[in-house]
């Protein structure tokens, strides 16, 4: 049997990651600050899941949609914040509007449809009409934020119990870094912030954690194996040892998601692009955010070191 056909990396790498930690930290901090500013201004492009209101496609095929007429019809309905734009082809328009205060989201949608039916005349079709009331959108937004916060908190606790507090801090710093940068990406490319985006963000959190755990696991093992080696060197060694796995898994995930981005249609494009970005950042952060923070903080390495909790079928010497 032949050896593997390609080798992504030499058997043993000796890259010095820690040497560049300062520079990378600077870049990371700059990007995090830029992303945070971006989230407040210009801000997230909120989808109706979180903003409330209605969205639908109006098609008058084979005729072109009279956008001006659509707009005046909608404005006559007394709705706040009406948006009308061509969508894909001239016979299609994307229409968004808010439900007036105290109004019923479903009834408003029905009224608008009836008004458009009258003003545009036959044939007119309404594709994928969706309405979200203000109460529901508020709840969805709140639960989305709670889910993100809980995910981070839970990861922190898990790492804390499985490893040591400074590992937990490193992991959570990496997690926040990935999450904030992904938010920056969402703002920069004006990707709609919806329920699906939150799902993508949660997946990014899961992946980023997964990646960090693999590096930390090796780090902990090496800390015990090489008691005299300086911390910086142990970190470098551990990253090098897991590098091949980090890259293989990262590349596989990105390639699979790239297929989704290309063939998944517009509904999944934003979703998969966010995940691809998050996986790339997550891979970077487990090398340059998680580990250096441990370096900064230091670890107890004496005999009095806390024994990690045994878990499942794990058997270690």
């Amino acid at each position: 049997m032949a050896w593997p056909l390609i080798k992504l990396l030499p058997q043993k790498t000796n890259l010095t990651f820690v040497k560049f930690a300062r520079l990378m930290a600077l870049i990371s901090v700059t990007l995090v600050v830029a992303s945070l500013i971006g989230v407040f201004k210009p801000g997230l492009n909120m989808g109706i899941d979180f903003k409330g209101g209605s969205v639908m496609e109006v098609s008058t095929a084979p005729r072109a949609v009279d956008l001006a007429k659509v707009r005046t019809t909608l404005e006559a309905q007394g709705l706040g914040d009406v948006q009308v734009q061509e969508f894909g082809s001239p016979d299609r328009a994307l229409v968004r509007f808010q439900t007036p205060a105290g109004g019923d989201a479903g009834v408003t949608l029905t009224n608008v449809k009836n008004a458009l039916k009258q003003s545009l005349g036959d044939p007119v079709q309404f594709i994928n009409p969706t309405a979200v009331g203000p109460k529901v959108s508020g709840e969805l937004f709140r639960s989305g934020i709670i889910a993100l916060a809980l995910a981070i908190g839970l990861m922190f606790l898990y790492i804390w119990f499985r490893f040591e507090p400074q590992f937990g801090l490193g992991a959570v710093a990496g997690l926040l870094h990935d999450l904030i940068l992904t938010f920056g990406f969402i703002v920069l490319f004006k990707i709609e912030f919806s329920l699906n985006t939150v799902a993508a963000l949660l997946t990014v959190i899961g992946y980023s954690m997964n990646d960090t755990v693999v590096v930390f696991d090796r780090l902990r093992e090496n800390l015990r194996k090489y008691k005299k080696m300086p911390l910086g060197e142990v970190i470098d060694l551990s990253i090098n040892e897991t590098l091949s796995r980090t890259i293989i898994t990262g590349v596989t995930a990105v390639m699979a998601l790239a297929g989704l981005a290309v063939f998944g249609g517009e509904a999944l494009f934003g979703f998969s692009v966010v995940m691809i970005f998050g996986i790339i950042v997550g891979t970077y952060s487990s090398i340059y955010v998680g580990a250096p923070i441990i370096l900064l903080w230091g670890v107890k390495r004496g005999e009095d070191e806390a024994t990690p909790i045994k878990f499942g079928a794990a058997s270690r010497p």
Binding site: A2, P4, A105, G106, L154, I248, A253, L257, G259, L260
Partner: protein
């Protein structure tokens, strides 16, 4: 770890068989499936509305309206109760959710309070006195009646139960494809209609309360009184749609209500030929209606639907047969709709549409196609990559594990009838990608151990045992993220989380047990001197 114990072989074989049997229904055409004997599992993947097209409606019971109505009824109940026992009273009114009444005779205050405690309100399990109202005495002669705190919740829960029943009856008589109706939280109802791309008909049938009452017109009120808003207590002014006058003043107390109807149909009036709605009362309703019509010959009564008067005919004679017709400004369609609503009963309170989502069937089919293509592309990418990275043997074993994994996910999703949504497909693809991570961890570990000078069998064994704790750590984190998504996510996100969670379990199982078994067999057969990895 590489020992080929019997239980490992049995578990893996069973899992593979189970995966095959439950995946198969998804691959066979429907005709072949129908021809199979009954014991063969036939459950297919349950596609979400975004994949098969359909409508989703989230309705909320209007609890404020519910409370208003209960208060109005409570005032009337207090009035009837006190009158029935001949206790003189005055200043009966409602303000801020509290009803107050002044008992004229100070000696009868206690009697009145006890009477009200037993006769008004509704039974409520667990409340003090067993009813959902409390009666308090203020300034000697004043009684205050209010609902207990738990009443609102109990009312909402009951309203949701009743509404679901009513909606089901209404939709059943519509004859469209059966939607699923479920309750959500305390005061919400979710209606999912697969394949229904225009929910307007559904909404118009569900959205009407259809509360029908027969109330006597208060003919003592002159048009001048009406214009000045001088309405006697116990009466109310309601808008009219009969086309003659804009409003009538009617007695608040209903003679008979729609609850007592047994049947209702759309027919045509034998004299005018106009579309009308015919109805039948049950025994009690027929008696009440008969009595009321016998006592009020020559007077008008109003037929009130959802607070609007449909018509107000003059009673020409006692109607004792228990049936009648409702005339009004009807078209055959609107009469048929009213008949349907009356047949299926009234909603206890209005339902507001809080969320509405629709996906056309065509778009759903497109999404399925896009999802299938991208899953295939992702799968091929992973296969090629794994073969290139780990060679035909170890890469191939990872691919076999992946195939079994994919099969088991589809099987588990089919059995649990978990909804597969578009984001769920993305979850599936990501699961496949991350599933090979377990194999990667094991293989990389084997490489390390082999480099450290261990014999192939020792290296392979250490690869599995040492990678195990990392694999568990890594998967617990993914599972935690999925659990949170499931707890806090709505519809499509939940589907995604479910797919992700199933994938975590199956991928650990296949990557660890299945590849262990395959590698173990290979070792036994080939007895290699060197790890081909």
């Amino acid at each position: 770890m590489l020992t080929l114990s019997r239980w490992k072989i049995i578990v893996v074989t069973l899992a593979v068989i189970f995966g095959l049997v439950f995946t198969l229904p998804n691959l066979l055409p429907q005709r072949a499936l129908d021809a199979l004997p009954g014991w063969v599992p036939k459950q297919k993947l349950n596609l979400g509305l975004d994949l098969q097209g359909g409508s989703y409606l989230l309705m909320e019971v209007d609890t404020a309206a519910l409370r208003r109505e209960r208060l109005t009824n409570l005032v009337e109940d207090v009035r009837t109760s006190l009158r029935g026992e001949q206790i003189a009273f005055g200043e009966l009114r409602e303000a801020g959710g509290v009803i107050s009444v002044r008992i004229a005779d100070a000696a009868k205050v206690n009697d009145a309070a006890n009477l009200l405690r037993q006769s008004v309100g509704s039974p409520l399990v667990g409340a003090v006195g067993g009813r959902d109202i409390s009666v308090a005495t203020r300034d000697n002669q004043r009684l205050e009646i209010s609902f207990v705190a738990e009443a609102a919740k109990a009312d909402a829960a009951m309203a949701v139960e009743q509404s679901i029943e009513t909606i089901r009856r209404r939709i059943d008589s519509l004859g469209t494809k059966e939607p699923t109706i479920t309750r959500q939280g305390t005061d919400r109802i979710v209606i999912q209609a697969a394949g229904e791309s225009d929910p307007e008909k559904l909404k118009s049938v569900i959205g009407k309360t259809a509360k029908l009452t027969f109330q006597m017109v208060d003919e003592g009120v002159t048009p001048e009184d009406m214009a000045a808003g001088r309405i006697p207590p116990g009466s109310e002014m309601l808008p009219s749609e009969d086309g003659y006058v804009p409003a009538y003043v009617v007695r608040k107390r209903a003679v008979v209500s729609g609850d007592e109807l047994t049947d209702s149909r759309q027919t045509f009036d034998s004299q005018s030929g106009n579309p009308v709605v015919s109805f039948n009362f049950n025994g009690q309703g027929a008696r009440k209606f008969g009595d009321a019509t016998a006592r009020n010959i020559g007077k008008k009564f109003a037929i009130v639907l959802d607070g609007k008067i449909i018509s107000a005919p003059v009673i020409n004679g006692a109607i004792t047969g228990g049936s009648g017709i409702i005339t009004g400004n009807f078209t055959p369609e609107s009469a048929a709709e009213l008949a349907l609503l009356l047949r299926s009963g009234a909603l206890p309170a209005p339902l507001n549409v809080e969320e509405q989502r629709t996906v056309g069937a065509e778009l759903g089919a497109d999404a399925v196609k896009a999802g299938a293509i991208s899953t295939l592309v992702a799968f091929i990418t992973i296969v090629v990559f794994m073969l290139l990275a780990y060679g035909l043997l170890f890469g191939g074993i990872a691919v076999i594990a992946l195939l079994i994994n994919g099969m088991m996910i589809v099987a588990a999703m089919s059995i649990t009838q978990a909804t597969l949504t578009l984001p769920g497909i993305a979850g599936l693809i990501l699961t496949l990608a991350v599933a090979v991570d377990a194999n990667v961890l094991i293989y990389e570990r084997m490489r390390d151990e082999a480099r450290a000078g261990k014999s192939p069998i020792m290296a392979a064994d250490a690869g599995f045992s040492r990678a195990m704790s990392t694999i568990i750590d890594a998967n617990v984190t993914t599972l935690a993220a999925a659990a949170i998504m499931f707890a806090f996510g709505a519809g499509p996100v939940r589907g995604f989380a479910w797919t992700l969670s199933i994938g975590v379990f199956t991928s650990v199982f296949t990557a660890v047990l299945v590849s262990q078994l395959l590698i173990g067999w290979w070792f036994r057969a080939a007895r290699p001197k060197k790890l081909p990895i």
